[in-house]
Symmetry: D2
Subunit: 112 residues, 4 copies
């Protein structure tokens, strides 16, 4: 696996982690927080797994591909949830999740 | 530092982490989520730092005391926030945070 | 899923995380550290994923089962590696990993 | 606090986290691993706290400054340890730690 592809997936994970952490925080500041509950839930889970998967890849873990396979699924679920809301933070999070899912699919060698 | 005291602080951190993760999730299921926004915020931060501080202590890190000093402050803030809400998950979280703060203060060698 | 089973898997993950963090640290203090390199590697990865999986379960995440499925594989690899070394910290870590793998298999609904 | 400064500190934390994870892994592959034990130890702790501090800042946590204050100390210790070894991975890690420490000092409003 080329280092270039590796670095690219780590970067996508870290962008996605930041977007998810920020989106959850911004959702908590919306007028109708109740409507955003599921978005906050997927944001939290996606962020947690983005951080741990990026840690594994940074140390060239033998489990990187399997962790990416799991993360791809979570990112896709988060992109779907966030994509339903029109706020900027949700749309930006959906974009980051979609990009991260694609990178993770490639890392995992698994087609969507 | 005796192993007993060490184990006791790790256990308090892990109980607190679980209580905070659960409380944030339960808050998202309340009717008035907006009212719980600050509680969810402190829960998230307290959980994140409980997990990382427990990791450091488990590996006998030289930075354990300093991490406990930070965590004590966060636990106290979280206990104060959660203590204002009457739901069981908030009250239980406040209790876990208060206990963790006390253990961390002892680990850090700093009086509250 | 009963709360009892849920709590049992979280507890196994947290015991395993602590055992892995401690084993890695103890391996670094051995005379022949080079021989322990792969053990430290699997310890690190197993610990990272134990912490994140426990976080997900504590918040009743919809991704708990999938995270447990991944963790079971990592725990089994770590148990195999640690089981090859006769030091107490390795043997205790192997035991904790084996228990965690079994609990995670049940959570994931996947037979080993 | 300007968003620009905030983003700059998060980026430094994430670069440092990756450098520390990679350095620990590369140290485990060196001929004389025993000599690198303390380097691996500080790398592990520094990485753990870089990830958690970046998570807090990404969600605009009220505890960001205090977390940065702790991380600055850890980064400085890691830079000092890594700086004693001539391997590229150690030198690059020392550079990333030094940069992260400086960013964190500014975030924390605390002079070194």
């Amino acid at each position: 696996m080329s280092i270039q592809r590796f670095a690219s997936c780590i970067e996508a994970c870290l962008d996605c982690a930041q977007a998810c952490e920020h989106c959850a925080e911004a959702c908590l500041g919306e007028d109708d927080v109740k409507k955003m509950a599921d978005c906050i839930r997927t944001d939290r889970d996606c962020a947690t797994l983005c951080w741990s998967t990026a840690a594994l890849m940074s140390r060239d873990s033998q489990f990187s591909a399997k962790a990416c396979e799991l993360l791809a699924e979570v990112c896709e679920a988060c992109a779907k949830e966030c994509g339903q809301h029109e706020m900027d933070h949700c749309q930006q999070c959906a974009t980051a999740c979609t990009k991260c899912a694609a990178e993770c699919r490639e890392m995992a060698g698994v087609k969507a």
